[in-house]
Symmetry: C2
């Protein structure tokens, strides 16, 4: 049998780290549901032809599956999904007859990519996506809604400050076209490298691709514009470029920023350098950064797409955004920036006096559980000092000693011990669940 060893790129958390992950996932789910998104899960596999259709780079990232003992032809054509957007588009087409549109869904699932693992990049990872899709046309207000949901999620994460950066493809496209640059998509791809290679290298690449130094300068000037309010409009206008698509883009971005100023002030910035590599975005694009950790890149991104889901007759335009859950946690936990106050959900360890009296301890535990208090009965009737150390090692804050009238409960941090009735006793709310602490 194979050696026991981790597999690079397939992270596994300790129980305490998993408690941090669960809290993040709970926040995400609760917030998505407060905003009226319905959960779906799609199967983990898609036909490879569907996965491959998403661009030249997709192929090399796909994990194909096959029956070890030799299977049908069908199975040899399946691969694990590498994101949740492609399966969602297929789900919408497959179920268009029974879904209610506009369809608001969230999806929290694992995905797999065969890329080289590195810090914050994994081969198996969890994504949390929201999307709204409609039939034929999609109202612009949905593009303004996405950042409000994400702001609510990140405000509840113990990650400090964050900025949801927003741009609009039409704004950039119109600007480049108005400048007289023919290869709009190519220009966008070069400007997208700005954070990685710096402005001088971007300017060189643009000139190498046929731009004049003046055009390259204008592209960089545009990319530098960033505002939490509508100041970006005048700054773009001051660059003196004119194009109907530019006007349309400015108008759309203005609507998004106005909504953000009203409902999530200080969280959302117009950032005209945001490009997002994926070809299928057609309008607003999003990219979220943690303040102080900008070098981690985008931890949550997305945008509007008009042609991702289409059956040839009907098109289902949508807008969506995806939180890189494993990416965020891998970075935060990997650097020791977060920890859980204990390694188990149990708030109480019920001590056991002797194996013969275990039933009395189980009865106390049953009473606590009936009140929603997670607890565990001690595994062995050791000396109480040893049972207390068992709790302490796991970070369990209370030890219960069964006895007459219910017994006594000890806060092992303060040493305080009081008589208590397990059918009514409650710990302070902060002790009921493990706390997630920034360190």
């Amino acid at each position: 049998m194979s050696r026991i060893a981790p597999i690079s790129g397939f992270p596994e958390f300790s129980p305490a780290e998993r408690l941090v992950e669960q809290r993040f996932l709970d926040v995400i789910r609760e917030t998505f549901e407060l905003h009226g998104f319905a959960s779906i899960e799609t199967r983990s596999v898609e036909p490879i032809s569907r996965l491959s259709a998403q661009g030249e780079d997709a192929d090399k990232e796909i994990y194909a599956i096959s029956r070890l003992a030799g299977g049908s032809r069908d199975e040899s054509r399946w691969g694990l999904h590498f994101d949740l957007t492609v399966p969602f588009a297929r789900y919408v087409l497959e179920n268009a007859g029974t879904l209610d549109f506009p369809f608001r869904r969230y999806q929290i699932q694992k995905a797999w990519r065969g890329e080289r693992p590195q810090e914050g990049r994994y081969r198996e990872f969890t994504q949390a996506d929201i999307d709204v899709v409609d039939v034929g046309t999609l109202a612009a207000h949905f593009e303004a809604e996405m950042p409000l949901v994400i702001a609510d999620v990140f405000a509840r994460f113990p990650v400090g400050d964050f900025v949801i950066q927003v741009n609009n493809r039409r704004l950039a496209n119109g600007f480049y076209a108005g400048l007289g640059l023919d290869d709009v998509a190519g220009t966008l791809r070069i400007v997208d490298k700005l954070d990685k290679i710096g402005p001088q290298a971007v300017a060189d690449l643009l000139v190498g691709a046929g731009a004049t130094p003046g055009q390259a300068r204008a592209c960089l000037d545009l990319a530098e514009i960033r505002s939490f309010d509508l100041a970006f409009v005048d700054q773009v206008r001051a660059l003196g470029v004119e194009h109907p698509e530019l006007d349309a883009g400015i108008q759309a971005l203005t609507a998004v920023i106005e909504t953000a100023m009203a409902h999530a002030p200080g969280r959302v910035a117009a950032a005209l350098k945001v490009a997002r590599g994926l070809d299928y975005y057609t309008g607003t694009v999003y990219e979220t950064q943690l303040v102080g950790h900008e070098d981690w890149g985008a931890v949550c991104s997305g945008g509007r797409y008009d042609a991702l889901a289409s059956d040839g007759r009907t098109t289902y335009p949508g807008v969506g955004i995806s939180i890189g859950v494993t990416r965020i946690l891998g970075l935060l936990l990997g650097r020791g920036l977060l920890r859980a106050s204990r390694s188990t959900p149990a708030a109480v360890l019920v001590a056991v006096t002797s194996e013969e009296e275990r039933a009395a301890s189980t009865a106390v535990a049953t009473a606590l559980r009936a009140n929603g208090i997670p607890c565990e009965v001690a595994p062995r009737p050791d000396r109480f000092g040893k049972q207390i150390r068992y709790a302490d090692r796991r970070g369990i804050p209370y030890v219960w000693f069964p006895g007459e009238g219910g017994g006594q409960v000890k806060d092992i941090r303060s040493g305080e011990q009081v008589a208590a009735d397990p059918s009514v006793w409650r710990p302070p709310a902060a002790d009921l669940r493990p706390q997630i602490l920034a360190t």
Copy 2:
């Protein structure tokens, strides 16, 4: 690109069905945590050599993965896990140095098996497992604890009555040995077919395998014994077979049933026909049935194992039980026995008077969400009648009309409409979340 179509054995739920699944998963998780089990997730892939080591049948069920574009040698040796027990055993060995023992963990994840799909049997499915493992030896009381946890879970499912059937491998082994049957494991495998092929066929197989008609009769007599109390002890003794292993098995099963009688009366039966096919069980075995749906077979099963996790020097004996979540839901939803009261988490639709006044509706929604009330802002400023129909189609019980002082909220089922302040209004608790209804 491939035709849009379901893939047999890879089920996908509608949003309303998914709400039922989420409720089941919430009950499972909450109950596991109340009992002090900590969550872990293991990676989806294991080395194929580890998966294959679990028996001759394992190979044909394994999905191997490979990089579509050609990968390293490593990846060609990985497969998707087909249960959560094998990965858990590996996780324990890999992390033995940092885990606290006895280690109580739960794990709710997808698994994959390349078997022929049929009703209630899938190629991709979700399992929910609890296990307790210790170092060297495992106290017997953990075997008595498992059914208490499962009884708490199933009592909260809207599935009607259920029975957790319990047996002990040592009891059966000792009985067969005491009878003079040499091939104890072979006998167990034949008796395990009882529910499928009936008593006469089992007797024939036993005789065919070398048993006398009297021995075969005694095996069937043992298999017929079933009691919710300790009556099984005298019934076994009345069969007149004697063996030290039989005594040990009776004693162990007595302890499990006594605990169940005290803490989960009427939920747990000694059922001496329960065999469980897997070779690695060494003590108590469990098999849960839904009353009235016994033909569905076991929906939750497990047992004690002593040698599943071992690094050659140290052995980690454990006891565990696994709920077949997708199996239960596939059967219940497939037969229309359960439904959700709505297809979205939203309890309120906030109506929109005009696109210009959308901000007022968003402000109402923000106030409701701050109170934990899931809601959605109407997608279009249609006539109110049309907006109400939008809510009705999704099963959203309330429509909010923004206005002075907050506006008015209408229960669209009763038609009752009252003035209300979104910062304090609350729906009845039953309306806050979708209800799961037995039909």
